[in-house]
Symmetry: none
Subunit: 269 residues, 2 copies
């Protein structure tokens, strides 16, 4: 179900001088949700370890306990072969600017080829300095509404982590199972036609089709409409139960006036 | 860079019984970042208005101040023509399961065609009930790591909002149009629920649901089954005619024994 490339290690996430411990913990959780594990922090304002960070990380211990602390951005990215820097708005820098999906695809290509990749995230208010950005190969910018740009670090990490994971799925839906309840198979056309004829018979009995000349058109409309649902075999049985109940008024325990006719129709299928 | 179709209104976000005010506010902020504005909340645990929510919404006033409160999910989605339900894991429900990008593309297609779309988010711990999910046309599931699934509501809202915005930036997706034959628009949830209740009333009258304890399960099965067809408004009218004809046996020219009851039910809608 999941593409084998999901087994590739994910990119490193590097938080530069995060101010709030809570954001570090929430970033760890965001990463864990999408299978990333390598979190690095550079010179956090409130020192390290940080209890606010641990609490916000909640159950993401396998990410949190591996967090590595660095004094400078240069040290934090030293082992990486491809680095993207996240910036909120485009700057006057001679670098390719990508969206998150495109950046995730490039990173996966590198990691599959054995090159370690990483994503650089800036400080809460002022982001990354131009000097820090210059360490990156490319820039990734999120398509936020310019009139309301208020994404925090953990949210930006979440979206990049999501795109990383998505880039490893053959198609977006390949990680998802398509199930029908009770393993019911799609109805055969014969079963579907059985339902149609049952319903149309019940409608004939109440003179639904008036004037009679219009019957073929209305029948065709009804059939097209119901066909859209792609009923399963179990669905057909349920719906025939519904039609039978409605045409069997009054309720089943009592004898019906026209019972014979209906029984013979039901017996046909 | 920005496609003109970004000007299309975004889908509604519906939070069902959110427990923490903070999540409501953070969801509003997440939406604002990606240009969504229509936030609806159903029966929030701590009542409304909620100061925690307002504080968490920060500067997203233009979303927060327009939040609408509803008592039931049915009322909250009544005006929508296409609804996706977010669920954490696949369930035994006969609905198409999509990833966020695919769902966003479908929603954009609908909204460009003038059909209002919405996304349903469940409660913090227990998500959505099967009955609530049955109101949706399709299911959207995020590709989270099954070994660490700990996304909160606001994070799920963030990713769907991000994908909504992204769907407006990519030319290959913005070209999609969803049209229905005969210019009939998709039925609103209100119209659909009207059909369901009409049919269930008719089935009650013939004691279809036996034993009575099983009624909720059978009702849900029926609704899920019929929902698959994505009926148009014209379809709903036709089907209500079918149900009315069948419950009106014997044929319309003759007086019915229980005519009063049926008339009153029909008058309700």
């Amino acid at each position: 179900m999941v593409d084998s490339e999901l087994l590739v290690d994910g990119p490193a996430v590097i938080l530069v001088e995060p101010q709030l411990g809570e954001n570090i913990g929430t970033a760890a959780r965001a990463m864990a949700n999408f299978g990333l594990r390598d979190l690095r922090i550079v010179n956090p304002r409130d020192g390290w370890p940080n209890e606010h960070a641990r609490r916000a990380a909640s159950r993401a211990d396998h990410v949190f306990d591996r967090i590595r602390l660095f004094q400078t951005v240069e040290e934090a990215v030293a082992d990486l072969g491809y680095l993207v820097a996240t910036t909120a708005r485009s700057r006057e820098l001679a670098k390719t600017v990508r969206g998150p999906a495109s950046a995730a695809g490039i990173m996966r290509g590198h990691m599959v080829g054995g090159v370690r990749a990483g994503i650089l995230f800036g400080r809460e208010r002022i982001g990354l300095t131009n000097e820090e950005i210059s360490l990156a190969d490319e820039i990734v910018t999120l398509p936020i509404d310019p009139q309301f740009a208020s994404l925090n670090i953990a949210q930006a990490v979440l979206i990049l982590a999501y795109e990383w994971r998505r880039s490893g799925l053959e198609s977006e839906e390949s990680g998802l199972r398509f199930t029908t309840p009770n393993d019911s198979r799609p109805a055969t056309k014969q079963e579907l036609i059985g339902l149609f004829e049952h319903l149309e018979g019940a409608l004939d009995a109440v003179t639904f089709f008036r004037p009679a000349e219009k019957r073929p058109v209305v029948v065709q409309t009804l059939r097209a409409m119901l066909q859209k649902a792609q009923f399963t075999e179990a669905d057909i049985r349920t719906l025939r139960g519904v039609v039978a109940a409605l045409e069997n008024r009054p309720t089943r325990p009592r004898k019906r006036a026209d019972g014979t006719e209906t029984t013979s129709r039901e017996a046909e299928d």
